[in-house]
Amino acid sequence: MKPKLAVWKFASCDGCQLSLLDCEDELLMVAEALEIAHFPEASRAVVAGPYDISLVEGSITTPHDLERIEAIRAQSTWVISIGACATAGGIQALRNFQAVEDFMRMVYARPEYIQTLSQSTAISEHIKVDFELRGCPINKNQLLELINALLNRRKPHLPSESVCHECKLRGTVCVMVSQGIPCLGPVTHAGCGAICPAYQRGCYGCFGPSDSPHPAALSQAFKSLGVSEAELVRLYRGFNSNAPAFREESLQHE
């Protein structure tokens, strides 16, 4: 019997689970190797659990989410959180630095109908997660590599070092050294293939902190490039603002 795959959504934009549909050429092979049992974005047909692999997209932002994620863990062999929302709280974790009640009063005519948590948090803060796939959005080749490794019972090749590594492998010239552009690459987790520096932009940190980030040293270098304290806060508060290394560094400059 083929292993069963489920795809779950929490607070997110759907971009990461769409990466699975983006696999296009490889999708048929994935469907041959796995039974896509629960994937509402792709099909209304739902096969009941338990599931071998659960891909979880999105962050935990409501009391209901807390119950759902427990239920998913209980019926899954492997839980893999995919994307910046699921692994770090996502862009919506910017609420974590403010009072969420103020937002509710500004946005909703009847805020008393809204049930939400004060913080947007990663899946791994609530349940045991077997693997985290980074990125905003995730890279489809990394998703395929992970599924492939799981099916073949081998270690996935998903480097956790800095984006600098990817720039150098593809021959991109360092934009920080050659143009003085502030770039989060030296503290950011590899995985995107170093897209932004290849187009003469600094890295935005979409894949969150690398395995041994040192943002304090990078901030010093940014300052000598003329980056202000306020700009430093904004740099670290992107899609991964609640990832501990970025969160702590942004608080240093508030």
């Binding site: 956790s160 070092e161 800095s162 492998l169 021959g171 360092c174 040293a217």
Partner: protein, 373 residues
């Protein structure tokens, strides 16, 4: 082998390039891309960075316009020639499980034949250091060998070193040492530069003959010599290799490593721009069905946390420990391992460190701490 010095004009360089191309070489050399001088394919001297120089410092590199027509008026840029001899990703083998069992095949790849145009003295020495690593000793690397055996090296003697250079300390320049096929010095006396050329191999001598060149006048040779002497005196940095090695070997427990660790990003830039760093990782890439697999080798770095992953934990966990490993290997233990230093004084690790860590200053600081205690 002939050592006669001849005089070439730019048109002769174009003739050399077209002869190399006719002989089946891919001509690769310096070009301007993304605000830097990088190595890429070139067709003629029109592709070279004419009138372009650079200003380098700790963690900083900027191109500048020169007020002459120099084709080689720049200091080494972010890329090393190792990308051609030891590519960032290399397919090592394929394996397939079929009805006949497990079949293992070597990659069926054409070995590129490169003519490297503009190799500096420090870079030539770096190639020779990698030769020692990949080709000598009990295990030699066939992938490196196949490429290495086919290359043609046109060296350019350096006359204007940069602010992060210290090739003189490492005995790697400014003039290119033996090992090239042809070496030229660019002379900028006149509006149109001319070139003093020497053959360093039979291949080089043969090519030169086709240019039908004239003998170099003695006055130009004197000027060339003066340029080299001046270049040697203009090094932006210096390093005493013996002192560095001794300081590193006795400074293993120094408090200085913690200090470096507070500045180091452990981003791996220094190792990846270094022309001698040779570490790699190997990955198996399977298909979804698990019936076929490819084995790839990819550049790795001692600054990545997983580099020393052993029994589930990395051995060198702090950035300071990783920096100490890198600089100690480069300047001290390389000598024990390969009978030479692993550094050629090109200065790339200083220029391309995003936070401007300078290995020559780190050695000075380590030394100062040791003399104090």
């Amino acid at each position: 082998m002939q050592t006669e010095v001849v005089l070439l004009q730019r048109l002769h360089l174009d003739l050399l390039l077209s002869q190399l191309q006719a002989a089946g070489y891919q001509t690769v050399g310096p070009v301007v891309r993304d605000q830097a001088i990088v190595y890429d394919r070139i067709q003629s001297t029109a592709d070279l960075p004419m009138g372009i120089g650079d200003i380098q410092g700790k963690g900083s590199y900027r191109l500048r316009s020169r007020d002459d027509a120099a084709l080689f008026g720049y200091v080494v840029g972010p890329q090393a020639w190792k990308k051609y001899l030891y590519p960032p990703r290399q397919l090592l083998m394929r394996a397939e499980q079929n009805s006949r069992g497990l079949q293992i095949t070597a990659p069926d790849q054409e070995v590129p034949k490169y003519a490297m145009i503009g190799v500096r003295g420090c870079e030539l020495k770096a190639i020779q250091i990698q030769d020692r690593v990949f080709l000598e000793g009990p295990y030699s690397d066939d992938f490196y060998r196949e490429r290495r055996e086919q290359i043609f090296i046109l060296a350019v003697n350096c006359t204007e070193p940069g602010n992060t250079c210290f090739c003189v300390s490492m005995e790697a320049g400014p003039a290119a040492g033996p090992g090239y096929d042809l070496a030229i010095t660019e002379m900028l006396e006149t509006a149109e530069p001319c070139y003093l050329a020497r053959a360093g191999s039979a291949k080089g001598a043969e090519l030169l003959k086709h240019c039908n060149p004239s003998h170099a006048p003695a006055t130009l040779l004197e000027k060339e010599n003066a340029l080299w002497t001046a270049a040697a005196a203009q090094m932006g940095r210096s390093l005493n290799p013996e002192q560095a090695s001794a300081a590193l070997k006795s400074g293993y427990e120094s408090t200085h490593w913690k200090d470096v660790g507070e500045r180091c990003l452990s981003c791996s830039n220094c190792t990846l721009v270094c022309p001698t760093c040779f570490c790699s990782g190997v990955q198996e890439v399977t298909d979804l069905a698990g019936t076929s697999s490819e084995r790839w080798r990819e550049w790795d770095s001692c600054f990545s946390l997983n580099f020393t992953l052993t029994a589930g934990r990395p051995i060198r966990q702090s950035p300071g420990a990783r920096y100490r490993q890198w600089i100690s290997h480069k300047l001290a233990f390389w000598q024990d391992q390969f009978d030479q230093s692993g550094c050629v004084g090109c200065g790339r690790c200083i220029t391309w460190c995003p936070v401007g860590i300078d290995l020559t200053s780190e050695i000075e600081a380590l030394n100062a701490l040791q003399t104090k205690t």
